[in-house]
Symmetry: C2
Subunit: 330 residues, 2 copies
Amino acid sequence: MVKLAIDMMGSDLGPSELAKAVIQYEKENEDVSFLLFGDEKVLTPLFAEDSKRRTEIVNTGKVIPMEIKPLDFLRAKDSSQYQAVNAVKEKKADGIVTAGSTGGFVIGSTILLRNIENVTRAGLCSPFPTSVPGKAAVILDIGANNVNTSEDLYGFAKMGSIYAKEILNMENPSVYTLTNGQEEGKGTDEIVGAYKLMKEKNLPGFKGNCEARESLDGHHDVIVTPGFVGNIYLKAVEGTASMMNDMIKKAFKKSLKTKMGYLLAKEGFKEMKTNMDYRRFGGAIFLGVDGVAVKAHGNSNAYAFYNAIGVADKMVKSDIIKKISEAFHD
Amino acid sequence: MVKLAIDMMGSDLGPSELAKAVIQYEKENEDVSFLLFGDEKVLTPLFAEDSKRRTEIVNTGKVIPMEIKPLDFLRAKDSSQYQAVNAVKEKKADGIVTAGSTGGFVIGSTILLRNIENVTRAGLCSPFPTSVPGKAAVILDIGANNVNTSEDLYGFAKMGSIYAKEILNMENPSVYTLTNGQEEGKGTDEIVGAYKLMKEKNLPGFKGNCEARESLDGHHDVIVTPGFVGNIYLKAVEGTASMMNDMIKKAFKKSLKTKMGYLLAKEGFKEMKTNMDYRRFGGAIFLGVDGVAVKAHGNSNAYAFYNAIGVADKMVKSDIIKKISEAFHD
């Protein structure tokens, strides 16, 4: 039986969307049970029906705000997020899923779960949609750290590859350093150093540098970057995609004629929408801490949160923490 | 009379596209003349007709390759790019426009033209299309540097504002630091320091941090970033836009029905295409060196190169170098 700790609070669309996801996942997966952390007055009615069998509600106090400092997180011991992470630390659950504060999640996982031995820095890892339908690119760190060393990036490459293999079923994933040119020697010192390290240590699948422009062409499986740069990258991609989506909508709404055009063309755009929908990936994974920790998007609907739960479940079942630990003990 | 030095070699589409741009610009602007650097056997036939009046061809040797090291650039004294930049240094021309190697352009401008006094680092500055049709966001540095100090970023903000005002006719442009969160204190040390500096010195228009996600919403005029991060940002935006354009084409080509949809909807998409077309901006400007230096896109067609010439012309006429110099002597 896999037991998942769910932080039911702090998401943009509220606990009812998350509850739908939990209820559906519970129905479909008899070997998974849930510890649900949140305000029991809010949660109890949501789980009133047939799904009480393998869900247990743990009443908690305040909700962690989006922006929080480490000390404030540690003081908020009665919060749903603290409690959910702590359940993994105390082995009461096998993994935690939250759609709440990313800052709180990173702080909590780092301090409570701690890094796997020999992991210099844990990194937030996210699959991105690519030009090739159904194929993802795995990018880390997308923002848990500001600055990273070459050693950190080398670690991200190892962990990202394991994630790509175990969770996304990629065989022999290719690995790249994200930088400003393809030739060796391009980029900041830590990237030049990481390139050297991966070559020296013969990191499986390491192919060299990749530029942001080609990163999502479907031929780049795992891409490593320092957290600050990864965060800018993530938001530049999201921002551009969202800007262009708005433009597409506007283009179709321009006149009666273009609206009729939409009716004819929409079957083509449906495929595009499906392919670009990051909700199918569930969210980001905090790789390197000693426990399964999944961060669903803040604006998760039931579909996105269901997928985030699925990722956590798969991570537990594939014993990914042990595999990462072994890879760092070579 | 404005005299522009044009590097006619090294672009992806070849000198004939650039020649069309020069000929058209010369026809339309009687107060502009050109020094054209390149292989005279190639260039002479392109300028055979009526446009010889204010164009002078200077025969040059090798073409600077896309990737070049500083020493190799300095040795290539007979190249079209070296000669064109050097013409500005020697006051034989008022500005240089090239669609050749970005590396060579940055090295050449830095070493030959040198920085304006008190400018710690020059930065490559590019206008980006935004969600608001016709409105650009000015972003620098997009890759002339790897690492930048807070002082550099403060300088970028001053130069970017002057560019936005003088060339893009923005009144009171707003200025932002690109980082991973809106609150003060977010980002790497140099960004936190730049934020502080701009606040202390009351930089006109400074509004604080901006995230990549909202950077292109049309409400952010000048955005400063260290060069490495700016380069990742630029290519993430370009890559995502190009991926989505491919998807739009694919969506419309899916079936006979979607193709008919395109015929009806295309008037809406034409506007989108116009708005997203970076060629209307001509290219990037190297701000901070002591001379007008414009880098057109490597794949410039006549339209893009015409616009790049227009930017250089406007920069000369607005006396932007003097204005930047004054701003750094406060």
